[in-house]
Assembly symmetry: C2
Homo-oligomer: 460 residues x 2
């Protein structure tokens, strides 16, 4: 009985898919955080690599994956598509459940798919050094791994409380020669300012972004990188969905439901967009797309589709039109640290606005219930983030059971939980809590979204 | 460029290989620890599952893998055989380096290959509950995973200092519904005896074995399991080498050197024996076999091939003829906890005695140097145990460079180091020490080996 559908190495996709070519509606451009005018390449070139900025606005449907990058992808790709037969049996569902297993990458998640591409293009341009921020450490470790492969220096501003509480991810980054700096740090003006006010500041992702951008702007040989949200990150992640489509074809099947979890939006989008192309082009009309977020950070289900700052400090990242909770919104400290972004990908937000994707929110206890079911049937321990997608897959399978429908459900297992076992312990010992959502906090944060003159932003 | 050689799921081996059929010399049998006579099935049946005891003494060359077990193997098998091109480039060697990647199992090592088989056969026999001991936790987590799959209760006596220092492995076992008990415990006579003398006793593997065996002997529905050393464990692990042979055939290559690390001997043997069959039957004569151990626990390079007790407490495990340091030998606390057994597999010991395998010992700093090189080229973080095999592979590749020979080197990457990052930190920060070997300690321990009457033990 075939359990894992393996794609031969020779069938690794050689092009990424750019959904902008098939949408029929343009993606709203980024605005300068100070002038609130459409960002020019000159605005962004000191922050991001040039080729990545070109990919950001490209309308080409297919973009070639350089051969050197394909060779690196082959270190762990194609990843398996796996049939979750034991989970199906436990749920006693007529549905078929498949998952794409992105946890097999050396960093343990889908993040390296874009990290290696971003480092590759920056290196082509002569950049010697890359900065980024990290919270839980999935993106930071992926960028460290990628920089190490290409011989670039990697500087990671890690939220100080995570730096102290999660030494394993830090050591992983250091093993790959990443330079990990607890943020706020004394090495940037924004860090020094915060430390002057409070030397024991625990740090936030917003502060770490400010430091990483400031660092990149201060040196000619340095650029900043982002692990989600942006169009080029989603582009690189479409390798997941492109492989998945080939694997479903090998299985002689096609999804009725495609599911992924959403923080910034790149793993969901990378997995779903190649299937969504079939819907946009009329090849397959039956498929539903479900994007899952934590109830503690409900950008898609409770946020507003409007212009907002990309970072808390409004210091460097552009203003984007997106589903947002407001850039001052601080989500409760759930275990799925990778899903705690106040905003969302502008491209995915547009697609949500077009009604092509159904958003869904779950509390973390429901997600961990599914994660433990999965660990006890399929043996793999999902990352807290991925368990959101899993929870939705389980609920779809239970719906199929109630309706007596043998649908095909596919979800993206974006990463493993080897570095999140404290979260499992919290769940298993009954200590995990679901904190009620604070509506007043949301309203206050939404009021902080900037006013934007529609004449300056291109009429979006 | 093909990097990973994937074997299709349909090509999963359907039989294990039993080298006893090809050796031409019988393996010395286990002796009763009190009478020092050859163990009868009646001696061992209360401890081990019956089918496993049959496999232990079988002389059949091939033993069928039940279909239900094949289905479970397919959750993660066949595992990839990978060409380490980036490591080759770093070493600037004409040699080709391949590694079998056993780290992709859900428990992170090769251990589940035997765990699922042992649970399967015990369940067939009607056993409801299995006990074992664990130090670092690789075997314990694999048995918990396997028991969970088959619905058996799993009781793991975990060395108390590891229980306190390595909560992640414990939580992993608990997620798979394993019952983890810090040893010494108040639940067994041997545990109570030790606690009465010293309530703060940190525990040892020897004590934990005594507790696990005593527990199994105290209940009709319970048996004990062992994660290495025994013939049936090696038998199950031959699936590694059988897959590897097919993969080398797909690559159009054949190894000049086959390398694995040795604690109890099961991962090395499982990987090497299918290749060794070709040597024993004259099909391939060129191949060398290198078994690697830590210099802190040098059973093969410094131990004596003689009769010795299997556990420190002499309380339940049989006496075996093996390469041993003496059952009272306590190795220094190296990070490769899985390689700290005072003895060795009797079957591998016999093969060492026949001169078919070259033993080699390394200090841990040299192993971590190679592990970090590997992490920085192939991206995967090896387990401290596996880094011993890796170190030998690197040294063979450097020898090939010096000699200008393009040999083919294959080694078994038996597991990943995701739960061993403290060891990496110790190495990266320069805090790791190589403790000089204590010859006097070895001599004292060797003097504790029992005298055995050759008339009682079958003349071995």
């Amino acid at each position: 009985m075939e359990t894992r559908i393996m794609l031969p190495q020779a069938d690794l996709p050689t092009q990424w898919y750019n959904i902008q070519a098939d949408l029929g509606r343009p993606c709203p451009p980024p605005l300068h955080p100070v002038t609130k005018q459409i960002c020019t390449p000159a605005d962004l070139a000191p922050i991001f690599g040039m080729e990545l900025l070109k990919q950001e606005v490209s309308q080409d449907r297919w973009i070639d994956i350089p051969e050197e990058l394909q060779d690196i992808y082959r270190l762990w790709r194609p990843t398996p598509m796996q049939r979750a037969r034991r989970l199906e049996k436990l749920l006693d569902t007529p549905a078929k459940i498949y998952f794409k297993n992105e946890s097999v990458s050396p960093a343990g998640s889908h993040k390296p798919n874009s990290a290696v591409a971003q480092v590759y293009y920056n290196k082509q341009q002569g950049i010697k050094r890359l900065t980024t921020e990290t919270g839980a450490g999935q993106w930071g470790s992926s960028l460290a791994m990628a920089c190490n492969l290409f011989g670039l220096e990697c500087v990671i501003y890690m939220v100080k409380c995570s730096y102290n509480q999660k030494p394993y991810r830090r050591i992983l980054m250091e093993t790959w020669q990443g330079k990990v700096i607890p943020s706020p740090s004394p090495f940037t003006a924004s860090g020094r300012k915060i430390l002057a006010e409070n030397p024991d500041h625990p740090g936030t992702l917003g502060v770490a972004i400010s430091e990483a951008v400031e660092d990149a702007l201060s040196r000619e040989d340095t650029r900043y990188t982002l692990g989600s949200v942006l169009n080029h990150v989603i582009l690189h992640q479409t390798i997941i969905g492109l492989e998945a489509k080939k694997q479903m074809e090998l299985a002689g099947d096609y999804p009725d439901v495609v599911i992924g979890c959403v923080g910034g939006g790149s793993n969901f989008s990378g997995f779903a967009f190649p299937f969504l192309q079939d819907k946009l082009t009329g090849k397959q009309t039956k498929t539903r797309f479900v994007a899952v977020e934590p109830a503690a950070c409900p950008t898609m289900t409770r946020g507003k589709y409007t212009w907002d700052y990309g970072d808390t400090a409004k210091s460097g990242a552009p203003i984007a039109k997106m589903h947002t909770l407001g850039h001052t919104f601080v989500p409760d400290a759930i275990h799925a640290g990778g899903l705690r972004y106040h905003g969302n990908s502008p491209l995915l937000s547009l697609i949500l606005d077009m009604g092509l994707v159904e958003p869904k929110a779950y509390n973390q206890k429901a997600c961990f219930e599914a994660a433990v079911q999965f660990a006890r049937t399929e043996c793999i321990l999902p990352a807290p983030e991925s368990s959101h997608a899993l929870r939705a897959a389980v609920d779809e399978a239970l719906r199929c059971k109630a309706e007596g429908r043998a649908e095909t459900i596919v979800f993206n297992l974006s990463g493993h939980g080897h570095f999140d076992l404290n979260a499992y312990e919290s769940y298993l010992t009954g200590k995990m809590e679901d904190v009620p959502f604070d509506d007043a906090k949301l309203q206050a944060a939404l009021n902080q979204c900037p006013e934007v003159d529609s004449n300056l932003c291109g009429g979006f």
